[in-house]
Homo-oligomer: 235 residues x 2
């Protein structure tokens, strides 16, 4: 019997690779995305086509509204930082940080997992080539998993829930190499914080900069289309 | 300067008492309720009137839809258990358990707290007179608090978030006595899982049974109106 897993899917490079890894590991993927009041819904379009292409058993887009609270360049009227160097990105937590976002996303994943009797949750967080988000670190994930196993009926009854973070220690180049080896079509994905549409990334935000660096280091062509020409300085 | 606190408010007896305790402790309360696809919205009517009466700085009702996942008598087409004795209630986790509900609620509270620079969150969970919910136990709250302090920018920057559970070790009678001493008007609250309207509880679900027992043990009149006459057996 195939085991079920809930896979958090944003439609970006990382979560799409995570989905491919979950499938490779033999899990039947139940994909979960969020319409959370983000600046653009391009990522939801990408998530839907990735889920279909990768054969998700089910794809749920949960509507939650984090604009209620604001506090982030992704959920409020705060500009997305552009054309920052890697050094600048290394300086603290950026304006694109959404308070408690992964905590909220994982909590919905935990709820769905319990309802469908899945004991595995996949999330594509990355602690190396990351943008300084606290909720992408291994110590956060470990503490989350410990909490999750005390939170649910399944946990009380002795079924352990496991949070899988297959990308957590990989560089962006390694993620792209792994996904490419698994046949991921990265033209379906978008990583941009401020895209023009699902098929046109800005090319200047931190996420675009990190993605472009990753493809360059992997020596692979990035099939994404960019509005601004890739900057050599970022590579 | 008064400190801000996010108070989870369902409009029931426990969360209303918790709000009164937070105010007594000197906090400015930011009340958070959820329209989560529950069977009835009577509790949201009660939450709104309690927030107003108690002088909440702000009251946010966050729309999230846990019917997406179902799995509970409160969010799916599963009957609410009625006329159960306290012994029956003690036998395991009931059908009214909503998978990961408090985990989700606390995650939104954490997000809001970070945005408004509040370091305190109040939740009216109770581990004594409870209905067998795993996410009402002290070990869950401790693990949640530990996770929360690793999840946020505030936590990374050294600000500790505290989850307050003033009712956790109190009996229902003690909760009612404390709230009454603080001037809580319990006629504004509803505790019922299956109410007829905001001012008429069923009188037969576990929540009504526990509330009636609490008032009887405290020797105080319950100002709530009940559709079914209180059962002596439950007291």
């Amino acid at each position: 019997m195939t085991r079920k897993a809930v896979v958090l899917l944003s439609g970006g490079l990382d979560s799409t690779t995570t989905l491919a890894i979950a499938k490779e590991a033999g899990f039947s993927p139940y994909c979960l995305s969020f319409s959370y009041g983000q600046r653009h819904t391009a990522e939801l379009t990408c998530a839907a086509r990735v889920a279909e292409k990768e054969g998700a058993v089910e794809h749920v887009i949960a509507p939650i509204d984090l604009r209620l609270f604001g506090g982030s360049a992704l959920t409020a009227d705060i500009p997305v930082p552009k054309t920052r160097s890697l050094d600048e990105m290394g300086e603290g937590i950026p304006a694109t940080y959404v308070p408690a976002r992964n905590t909220i996303f994982l909590s919905f994943a935990l709820a769905w997992a319990e309802v469908i009797s899945a004991t595995d949750i996949f999330i594509g967080v990355n602690a190396l080539d990351y943008s300084g988000y606290p909720d992408c670190r291994p110590e956060f994930i470990d503490a989350y998993q410990r909490m999750a196993n005390l939170a649910t009926k399944a946990g009380v009854e002795g079924t352990e829930t496991r949070i899988h973070t297959p990308l957590i220690a990989m560089t962006k180049a390694q993620i792209i190499e792994r996904g490419t080896a698994l046949g991921v079509d990265y033209s379906m994905t978008i990583s941009c914080y401020d895209p023009i549409d699902p098929d046109l990334a800005c090319g200047e935000c931190d996420a675009c900069t990190l993605r472009l660096k990753g493809f360059a280091q992997a020596g692979l062509p990035d099939p994404a289309q960019y509005a601004a020409p890739p900057r050599q300085a970022a590579v």
